[in-house]
């Protein structure tokens, strides 16, 4: 739940009408991977995807097996690189096994929520009128309603057995996660709907669905991508929170459930940092990688947001560059061959 505080999404580039790249922006799209934010984000994400796929296979031990009867977790050692839990299970093995369910649930939730937000957002933005009013209202209500209490009341009534099902968990997460994307997509659709090429398609009698499919949605791709990443990010945070509260299947490991078990024996007040720091960092870095990708897309859509440091234009990194303050143009006497 900690991830994706919505403000930057709501106020940043992606939601500003008319900030979309031009319809013919293909050449710019190819330049996208050059941004350091996107490269760092992609590399980090790739590492997590690899862990999700082969993590359980390369785990040195079975994460469920206890090695001793002691109830005192052991700090990192040669045998257990990240130490052990209170049940003398190997933390590293749990960490490697825990990525799969986190990523999978977040991915499924992201797909469902994005599909919902495209359907609702584009329909509302394209149709306008009453349909727009009703759907926008619905999206806004879901945005304002705090998600965690809603999730908890759902899981409270569903009972633990239903929450064991990853698909149900993903579905419940996507119910609380579609609204932001729908709102942004509606705004963008609204601005696209009034463009000349959409008007002319309407004039020559193209059907609404054809216009949406051929003129609107292809131009929304950056926004849909950004909204998808955001919901996956939201899914990671929410799934971890639910697992941390102990509402998911105890049969498979996730980073959230590692935190759940460590909290059960008060690892944080007992100094067993090796138990809760690895899963927490894993979630934070997975979230960071998704957020970096998201910022990369935002900066691609609105280049003015670029920071000089991480994703600066090459000229900004020129050697000996002098920084200047606003309202006082720098004077750098350079010998530049006078004509």
């Amino acid at each position: 739940m900690a991830v994706g505080i919505g403000t930057d999404r709501a106020t940043g580039a992606a939601s500003a009408p008319g900030s979309l790249p031009a319809a013919g922006g293909r050449s710019r799209a190819w330049r996208l991977p050059r941004s350091p934010k996107i490269i760092v984000g992609l590399v980090m994400l790739a590492v997590f995807v690899i862990i999700a796929i082969i993590g359980p296979l390369i785990a040195p031990y079975n994460p469920n097996v206890s090695f001793a009867n002691s109830s005192v977790p052991l700090p990192p050692s040669g045998a257990h690189w990240l130490g052990t839990t209170a049940l003398q299970q190997d933390v590293l093995s749990q960490l490697l096994s825990g990525g799969r369910s986190t990523l999978l649930v977040a991915l499924i939730a992201g797909v469902i929520a994005t599909a919902l937000s495209v359907i609702i957002g584009v329909t509302a933005g394209y149709l306008g009128g009453l349909a727009d009013d009703v759907l926008s209202m619905l999206a806004n209500i879901f945005l304002v309603m705090p998600a965690l209490p809603l999730l908890m009341i759902l899981f409270g009534f569903l009972g633990h057995s239903s929450a064991d099902n990853d698909l149900v968990v993903a579905l419940v997460i996507s119910i609380t996660g579609w609204a932001w994307g729908a709102r942004v997509l509606r705004a963008q659709t609204l601005s696209l709907r009034n463009r000349d090429y959409v008007d002319s398609a309407r004039l020559i009698g193209e059907s609404n669905w054809r216009i949406i499919g051929t003129e609107i949605v292809p131009n929304l791709v950056p926004v849909i991508a950004s909204s998808f990443l955001f919901t996956v990010l939201y899914g990671v945070g929410t799934y971890t929170a639910i697992a941390f509260l102990g509402y998911v299947n105890p049969d498979h490991w996730s980073w959230g459930s590692m935190l759940f078990y460590s909290q059960e024996v008060n690892a944080e007040t007992s100094g067993y940092w090796w138990w809760f720091v690895p899963p927490g960092l894993a979630v934070a870095f997975l979230g960071t990688s998704l957020a970096l990708l998201n910022f990369g897309i935002d900066e691609f859509v609105n280049p003015r947001l670029r920071a000089a440091g991480l994703s600066g234009h090459p000229s900004r990194r020129t050697r000996g560059r002098t920084r200047q303050s606003f309202g006082q143009t720098a004077v750098i006497r350079a010998d530049r061959g006078r004509p």
Partner: protein, 375 residues
């Protein structure tokens, strides 16, 4: 007075107010820097309306912004000096001035009116706040009451009633906003007002009203104006002298009448033929073939030669210097004028009989404008 300043009429040298000398401005640093302004010399005299003309991208706004150190990143000044002469006779080089010194002389000596006052006025602050905060910053011992009185007085000068003080920019029309901006620029009685396309966003009628008010105010208070516009015909009406820029370089400077009646640079001639003159002889509108050059890939020699129908062989290799020609302090950078006898007839019309612009007889601006100021 520095002896190396070549521009400006001989007789008014003692009244120079702002001397720009050898100013170079780049966008970016290092190998991929774009040279936006190259080696510009320009003098603004006391009480003068100096027009700065050129197509978009010619560097006219960059020049003005850089001279006042207001140019944004990645703009960088790479050479030159900008000397401001105070009433007291002391001189400051703006390019050497620190933050504090710049802050003090801004608005009190040099103020600014820019295009589209909707964006130049802060949308969330009242007109009163925006009129008085410069007073508060520069005259700390001025009371709240007298700041308000001054704001009312300023609004009155541009024909806006005092009850607009509490308004916000969105409640005013475009013309009113630009008037507020002009009133604001005069708040501290500056010697220089830089106007960057001040009327471009307005309709023609409002534009004319505001220009007339502006010249009235200039006559009353005697401030000098650096008026930047792409509209040469407008400048011919209101400016005393006109400087024409092309690709970051000054190509010609003369009194407005001399420039209008007898242009010496082919680019000036082309610009004159791009706008219908409001007064004067009818000339066929022909425009200038081609488009302004890419500043990253400037042509060799004279930067204008690829578009110049009079281009000589040497124009492609040698860049012509900006040199005095004729009378009245006119300068031009064109090989056709060296010697003047070689110029084609269009560029060799006789100089108008009028004198070049002369400074007003008294400091308070009693003397009406001479020369080209037809407004």
């Amino acid at each position: 007075m520095s002896q190396h300043i070549v521009t400006g009429p001989e007789r008014s040298r003692g009244d120079a107010l702002l001397e720009i000398h050898g100013l170079c401005v780049d966008y970016g640093q290092g190998s991929d820097a774009v040279h936006a302004v190259t080696d510009v010399d320009l003098v603004l005299h006391r009480g003068e309306v100096l027009g700065l003309a050129g197509e978009s991208g010619s560097g006219k706004s960059t020049l003005a912004m850089a001279a006042t150190r207001l140019l944004r990143e990645p703009g960088v000044i790479t050479a030159g000096e900008v000397r401001l002469h105070y009433d007291t006779g002391s001189v400051a080089d703006l390019l050497e001035a620190g933050t504090g010194a710049l802050r003090v002389l801004r608005w009190s000596e040099v103020s600014l009116v820019i295009q589209s006052a909707m964006n130049a006025l802060n949308p969330v602050m009242s007109i009163r706040t925006q009129l008085t905060d410069a007073l508060a910053a520069h005259v700390p011992d001025m009371s709240r009451r007298s700041r308000r009185d001054r704001a009312v007085e300023l609004l009155g000068m541009v024909g806006i009633s005092a009850d607009r003080l509490g308004s916000h920019p969105h409640e005013l029309s475009g013309g009113m906003r630009q008037r507020v901006m002009i009133a604001m620029a005069l708040a501290l009685r500056p010697q220089i007002v830089i106007m960057d396309e001040p009327t471009t966003a307005l309709d023609v009628v409002t534009q004319r009203e505001i220009l007339e008010e502006l010249i009235d105010l200039r006559d009353r208070f005697g401030f000098a104006i650096l008026f930047i516009t792409h509209d040469l015909s407008l400048l011919i009406e209101i400016a005393d002298s006109i400087a024409v820029m092309y690709a970051g370089r000054l190509v010609e400077r003369a009194s407005a009448q001399a420039l209008f009646r007898a242009p010496r640079h082919p680019y000036t001639l082309g610009l004159l033929h791009s706008f219908p003159a409001l007064h004067g002889p009818r000339v066929p509108m022909t425009g200038i073939p081609g488009s302004p050059p890419d500043l990253r890939m400037l042509p060799s020699g004279c930067v204008f030669h690829p578009r110049c129908r009079f281009a000589l062989a040497r124009c492609a290799d040698d860049a012509p210097p900006l040199a005095a020609t004729g009378t009245g302090g006119r300068v031009v950078a064109c090989w056709l004028q060296h010697p003047p006898e070689s110029a084609p007839t269009e560029l060799a019309r006789p100089e108008p009989g009028l004198e070049a612009w002369a400074p007003p007889a008294t400091a308070d601006g009693q003397a009406a404008t001479q020369g080209g100021s037809a407004a």
